[in-house]
Each structure stands twice: as structure tokens, then as C-alpha cells.
């Protein structure tokens, strides 16, 4: 095909499109008979031909019924099919693959690079990194997150993964528990999430030193220590994208499904479900990284959240700016 014919065709399409638009506009503005009128008229001209009525049924509109159930007036809702194919298709398939790939990638990274260790010897002098209330909030969030992740994964992948192993009945019984746990822990997670955002937002604001961290990729590859504030840019990324954005998305979409008693439609809940699953999987992927770094990825990190204290060497090497602030008494955190 030459360019000229292509241009010609495009031009023709454009003209046709304009014509169609022009043609449809006055039509839309004209007094269109309602479907009910169409049906009434059709009954006059062709009794027994209910085509207008069937079109209405397919539209998913709500009709008259004495039934008081949710959306009882809707005869056929087609969105369910779209939701089913999205959920059972891409979400399950790519979600599953991504989870496995990322887990494997982290494992391989660990195998190759090993954990981040301290360059200098610990001083034995401890400084407080996380006061008690911060730790409580963290572990509440983390604990509920893990529970939600496990039960959520079971809901999405359980029947592919667990049923062939443990069978329908046992899985069913476990899932009755799992689903209720998920539904009741969910709001707890959301609450502790909000608390977490409030207490850590200030320390996660962009600082000029973060540019250095980005330039050096956090020293993950080279193993060198990059100075940073109380939280380095990696942690900040996790905080803003993982915790704040995804956490809130997951919570809100979860609430849409968890409290169906606000007249939300099935369609609302379908959309919420897809948003929930996708954001939860992405959050989980990021969480893999966070958990890795917080446990076996970096020595000392786990202790800091467990006890709330870090060795001065650790602080200096990982969060030099914060260390200096603490030493200067500017961190705002009590010293122990």
C-alpha cells in the first residue's frame, strides 16, 4: 500500500466519521421513543415480536419487581462476564507468574550478592531508631498484612494450588475461616496503615540527599554505603508507593467489597475486586523486597524493628544524616 492510498483511506474514514457524527447528532437530539414506547408500538404492528423488550433486557437496566433483593430488578447483568474473564484470566495468570518470578529474583539476588553487612565493627553503643508506638504500629500493620496476604492468595490461587493437594472439603473448611479472618483483619490493617502513614510521613519527605542515593542505586549493586536521612530513598519509595498509595487503594477497594450494605452495585464490587487484586499483588511484590531487606537482606535491620535500637555503626553506615541529627539532638526522637 502506498502512502497516498493510505492517506486517501484515512481521509475517507475521517469524512465518514464526521458524517456519521453529524447524522447522529440531530437524531440524538430528536424525540426518540423510549424502549417502552417502542415495545408498545411494536405490539400494534407486529404482535408477539418483543425485540424492543429483549433489547431492554440486555441493557442491564432495572425493571419492576416486588423482590427486595439487591439489584433484583436487573434481569441480565453482563459485566459479571467481563469481571470473570479478567479475574480468572490475566489477574490470576500474570499475577501468579509475577509473584513467582519476583520471589525467584530475590532469591537469586540473595544467592549472588548475599546480605548487606556492616563494614565496621559494631560499637556496642545503641541508639533508638523506633520508639515503642512506632514498632507497635509497624507490627500491627505487618502482621495483619501477612495474614491478609496469605488468606487473599488462598482466595485467588487456593483452588489451583491447594485443592489438588488437600481436597475440596478441607480447603472449604479452612477457607470459611480464611475468608472471615480476611474480612475482619482487613479493617484492622487499614486502621494501622493510616496510623503508620501519619507517624512516618514527615520522615519520608524528599530530601536533597536522596538524589545521591538514586545516583548510586542505593549501593545495592556495589555494596557501598550511601548516606541518607532517617529513611533512605528505597524505604521512601516503599512508603509512598507501597504503603501509602497501594495500601490505601487496597483498603478502600476492600471496604467496597467488605461492606456491601451501602447499595453499591455488583459492578462496583467487580471493579473493586479487580483493583483490589491487582494492587494487592503489586503491593505484595514490593513487600517481598521490603521483607527481604528487613530480614535477611540487610544485617541489623530486623533488630531495629524488633528492639527499636540500632548500633551506632549501623546507623552511621546506613543513615548517616539521621545519625548526625540524632547525635546533634535534632532528630526529635528520644534517646535511650
Amino acid at each position: 500500500m502506498t502512502t497516498s492510498t493510505l492517506r486517501f483511506r484515512l481521509g475517507r474514514l475521517l469524512v465518514a466519521g464526521c458524517l456519521m457524527l453529524a447524522g447522529s447528532l440531530p437524531l440524538a437530539a430528536a424525540d426518540n421513543p423510549t424502549p417502552a414506547q417502542q415495545q408498545a408500538e411494536r405490539q400494534q404492528t407486529q404482535p408477539g415480536n418483543n425485540a424492543p423488550m429483549w433489547r431492554e433486557v440486555r441493557s442491564g437496566d432495572s425493571f419492576f419487581t416486588t423482590n427486595r433483593g439487591p439489584e433484583a430488578g436487573v434481569l441480565i447483568q453482563s459485566e459479571g462476564d467481563t469481571w470473570r474473564h479478567l479475574r480468572n484470566g490475566p489477574v490470576t495468570f500474570y499475577g501468579g507468574i509475577l509473584l513467582m518470578l519476583v520471589a525467584a529474583a530475590i532469591l537469586i539476588f540473595y544467592k549472588i550478592k548475599g546480605p548487606l553487612t556492616l563494614h565496621d565493627a559494631p560499637t556496642g553503643r545503641l541508639i533508638q531508631r523506633f520508639p515503642r508506638y512506632e514498632r507497635v504500629v509497624h507490627w500491627l500493620t505487618a502482621g495483619s498484612f501477612v495474614i491478609l496476604a496469605v488468606t487473599g492468595l488462598a482466595m485467588l490461587f487456593g483452588k489451583h494450588v491447594m485443592i489438588p493437594v488437600i481436597g475440596h472439603s478441607l480447603f472449604g473448611y479452612l477457607m470459611v475461616l480464611g475468608k472471615n479472618v480476611h474480612n475482619f483483619i482487613g479493617p484492622l490493617f487499614a486502621a494501622s496503615l493510616l496510623a503508620m502513614i501519619v507517624i512516618w510521613a514527615r520522615d519520608n519527605v524528599w530530601q536533597s540527599i536522596d538524589a545521591l542515593w538514586i545516583r548510586k542505586a542505593g549501593g545495592l549493586i556495589t555494596g557501598e554505603h550511601v548516606p541518607s536521612g532517617r529513611f533512605n530513598f528505597g524505604e521512601k519509595t516503599w512508603f509512598w508507593i507501597g504503603v501509602t498509595i497501594l495500601g490505601l487503594t487496597v483498603s478502600i477497594s476492600g471496604f467496597v467489597m467488605n461492606f456491601p450494605n451501602f447499595d453499591q452495585t455488583r459492578n462496583d464490587m467487580q471493579i473493586a475486586n479487580i483493583v483490589h487484586s491487582v494492587s494487592a499483588i503489586v503491593m505484595l511484590l514490593l513487600a517481598f523486597g521490603h521483607i527481604y531487606m528487613g530480614t535477611i537482606g540487610a544485617h541489623g535491620a530486623f533488630d531495629s524493628m524488633k528492639t527499636g535500637y540500632v548500633d551506632e555503626t549501623w546507623a552511621k553506615e546506613h543513615h548517616e544524616q539521621w545519625y548526625n541529627d540524632v547525635k546533634a539532638g535534632k532528630s526529635g526522637h528520644p534517646q535511650g
Binding site: P35, A36, Q37, Q39, A40, R42, Q43, P47, G48, N49, N50, M53, W54, E56, V57, F63, F64, T65, T66, N67, R68, G69, P70, E71, A72, G73, V74, L75, I76, Q77, S78, G80, D81, W83, R84, N88, A154, M155, G158, K159, I163, H168, S169, F171, G172, Y173, M175, V176, G178, K179, N180, N183, F184, P187, N258, P260, N261, R266, M269, N273
Partner: protein
């Protein structure tokens, strides 16, 4: 035995809700659970049509496909049943079902505590022993095991609602269409059992 289906003849349905009451009576479903409902399109306008709708026992049942615990199963007669012991009340089947068939005893309750899903069983009970008390309490009457068809259809005063073997009921329907000399459409069959060209020969004829 062939494939069990429902067929609602919209030219005959008079919106008496007899099927709904019959179902409630036979299966003793609690307040708020209506396995069947009657919906009227263009209510009050000449040409209004009513449809009695319950579970259509789809060929490719969306509820089955999305159930996280895979609690559904399909019997030899094509009836879609479920195991309430494995049901977790997540509501996914309700999201997926085109016909709004799944019902929940607690309704849209907070914390998603809907209770075990309940839906039309084609009066075929559930996994428990046929005709047992446990089966009745969970799923309602097992009329199929008594050699009977669902009560909603058998009670229908105008015989608008038919239930039974697909070839037989589509034959009955076709005879009606021929007698009244007017075409119709078997309600919901395209959605539940695929487009006419994919459907069984009898259904195809009925849809013509």
C-alpha cells in the same frame, strides 16, 4: 437422561409470583431469600412482559468458574449445584451470575458476612443423602429424586414456566409458538447456554 433447563414463556407469564411462593413453600427458604423472582419489563405500558427468573443452570456457569473454593458441581442432568459446607459466602458467584441467582440469607451484611450462598437447585437438593433431613435443611426439597420436576414450574398457573428435559420443553414451547403463529425467544437461553448456533438442535429450533 437429557439436559435439565428452565424456560419462561414471556407471552404467558402473568406476574402472579406463584412460582416465587411455591419455591418458598417447598424449600422453606427464609425471609429475604428468593431463589426465584419475577421481573416485569415496561411495567404498566402496553406490551409489558414479565419474566420469572432463577438459576438457569448454565452450561458454562460463571458462578462455578469464579468460586474460590470450587464448591459448585454439575450433575449428570446438567443441574448446577453447590456444596454449602465449602461455601465461604464471598459473594463472587453473585458478582458473576448474569441472572442474579445467588442469594444470601444475611443479605448485604457488614464485613461481608452474607452467610452461605443459597440458590435454586432445580429442586435437586445437594450433596447430602437424597431426601434426608440434612439435605432439606440446607438445600430444600429434592423433588428430582422423587421423580418430580421443580415445583415453581409444576405450580405455574399458565404454564409459562416450563422445566425439564431441554428437548421436551423446547418441543412444548415450539408447539405453542406454532399455534400462536408468532415468534418468541426462550428467555435467557442465549446467555445461559450459548448462542443458538452453539446450542443443542432442539434449542436452536426453539430460538428460531
Amino acid at each position: 437422561m437429557a439436559r435439565m433447563k428452565f424456560l419462561c414463556d414471556t407471552e404467558r407469564c402473568i406476574e402472579c409470583n406463584g412460582c416465587v411462593t411455591a419455591c418458598k413453600n417447598e424449600n422453606e427458604t427464609p425471609w429475604g431469600v428468593n431463589r426465584r423472582r419475577v421481573v416485569t419489563v415496561n411495567d404498566g405500558v402496553p406490551g409489558e412482559r414479565s419474566v420469572s427468573v432463577a438459576c438457569m443452570h448454565c452450561s458454562d456457569a460463571p458462578c462455578m468458574a469464579v468460586c474460590p473454593t470450587d464448591c459448585f458441581y454439575k450433575t449428570e442432568e446438567g443441574v448446577v449445584l453447590h456444596n454449602k459446607d465449602a461455601c465461604i459466602g464471598c459473594g463472587y458467584c453473585f458478582f458473576a451470575c448474569p441472572f442474579g441467582a445467588p442469594q444470601f440469607p444475611n443479605g448485604p451484611a457488614a464485613f461481608g458476612a452474607r452467610g452461605k450462598m443459597d440458590k435454586c437447585t432445580f429442586c435437586a437438593g445437594g450433596p447430602e443423602e437424597n431426601g434426608s433431613k440434612a439435605e432439606f435443611e440446607k438445600y430444600g426439597r429434592n423433588r428430582l429424586a422423587e421423580g418430580k420436576l421443580p415445583l415453581c414450574a409444576e405450580m405455574c398457573s399458565t404454564k409459562a414456566l416450563l422445566a425439564g428435559d431441554a428437548p421436551v420443553i423446547s418441543d412444548i414451547y415450539r408447539e405453542r409458538v406454532m399455534r400462536r403463529g408468532k415468534a418468541g425467544e426462550a428467555w435467557g437461553w442465549n446467555t445461559a447456554y450459548g448462542k443458538p448456533e452453539q446450542a443443542a438442535p432442539a434449542a436452536k429450533e426453539a430460538a428460531k
